[in-house]
């Protein structure tokens, strides 16, 4: 029985993928790796099928937007959980905003389906291989990706307030 901790996971991943792991750190004890977006499918399958790790539970997929980091504006963040070992892993992949795209995780996790659609809806990430990539929460007619930082939160039709009061 190997001791499964962050160090072990990191070693296993780097042994397999080498320089595709761009960086790694452990904020609040959760191993986080920045990974090559083109190999995300391989990484997920590797973790899923690994004898010891058995990271077979996709907790969460979400997107982020960093307008200032050129070439890596849009991020897709996976939280993977190994229920047997009770250890989590966070994988971050970045993709440029001009044509944000990444491979879909639906081949492995059914739960990725809607979460990826949500990420597409919010950030416009194109998940290659997704069976039904269209907007999920917003109306189909919407022509922008509302969670990107440049778009405003407000509806704009509200007439009964004066922003100067609210320090926003």
């Amino acid at each position: 029985m190997v001791n499964i901790d962050n160090e072990y996971i990191l070693t296993e991943i780097t042994n397999q993928f080498g320089d595709k792991v761009y960086s790694s750190y452990e904020p609040y004890g959760l191993l986080t790796i920045e990974f090559d977006k083109n190999s995300i499918k391989d990484l997920l399958s590797f973790l899923y099928n690994h004898q010891e790790l058995q990271m077979q539970f996709l907790t969460d997929v979400c997107g982020t937007h960093y307008p200032d980091v050129k070439g890596k504006e849009i991020g897709v963040i996976y939280h993977i959980h190994s229920l047997i070992n009770n250890v989590r892993l966070r994988v971050k992949c970045y993709t440029p905003i001009e044509n944000p795209s990444i491979d879909s995780a639906t081949f492995l996790f059914s739960s990725a389906n809607w979460q990826e659609r949500e990420t597409f809806d919010f950030y416009g990430v194109n998940f290659v291989g997704h069976p039904n990539l269209k907007r999920i929460l917003n109306a189909d007619e919407m022509d922008y990706f509302p969670m990107r930082k440049e778009y405003p939160l407000e509806d704009g039709t509200r007439t009964d307030k004066d922003d100067s009061y609210f320090g926003r």
Binding site: L83, I84, N86, D160, K161, D162, Y165, F166, G167
Partner: protein, 177 residues
């Protein structure tokens, strides 16, 4: 998959012969409902009878006056800042000479409006107030027919000198070490 040692299976789908017969379970159910027919109703006849809300209930706001009848509010704007619904708006004004009996501080709110339709009664304004001025009370905001009748100004919010709103209980339970 066994992850912990604290699990226990609780669902038993096998029916005993008695349960298979339908009738006993139905009869016992009917017994329960019949028993309830003679139980005292728990209903509250609302408009005639009202319920005592808890002293800390978050209902309609009040702008307090101090013991001498002066308005406490100094129009610092913290309540507006802390409002997640952005429902509070105010205009500050300088207190002039001769108005000392009206306003406690040198600045006061010339206009103070809460949009009760926007308000979510979260109580953050009450917490934000550094001047003991705004409190939520255990009165409810009544419904009305027009949308713009819900912008409550100072005429509604500021308590009347002769008709003070009691918030002592609320203050008492409020954050004491």
């Amino acid at each position: 998959m066994q992850l912990t040692n604290r699990s226990k299976v609780v669902s038993n789908k096998e029916m005993s012969f008695k349960e298979k017969l339908y009738i006993p379970a139905i009869l016992s159910g009917m017994g329960v409902t019949f028993k309830h027919m003679f139980k005292k109703s728990v209903s509250l006849r609302y408009p005639e009878v009202t319920r005592q809300f808890s002293p800390v209930y978050r209902g309609m706001h009040v702008l307090k006056r101090d013991a001498e009848g002066r308005e406490n509010c100094t129009a610092c704007g913290l309540c507006a800042v802390s409002c997640p619904a952005e429902a509070i708006t105010m205009d500050a004004a300088e207190r002039k000479k001769g108005e000392e009996h009206l306003y406690r501080e040198e600045k006061y709110a010339a206009k103070y409006e809460i949009n009760m339709l926007r308000c979510i009664f979260c109580g953050l304004c009450e917490e934000a107030c550094p001047k003991d001025a705004i409190y939520l009370t255990d009165r409810i905001v009544e419904s009305n027919y027009k949308r713009n009748s819900f912008v409550f100004g100072k005429d509604v919010l500021v308590e009347k000198i002769e008709d003070r709103i009691d918030i002592t209980k609320r203050k008492k339970s409020y954050k004491i070490d």
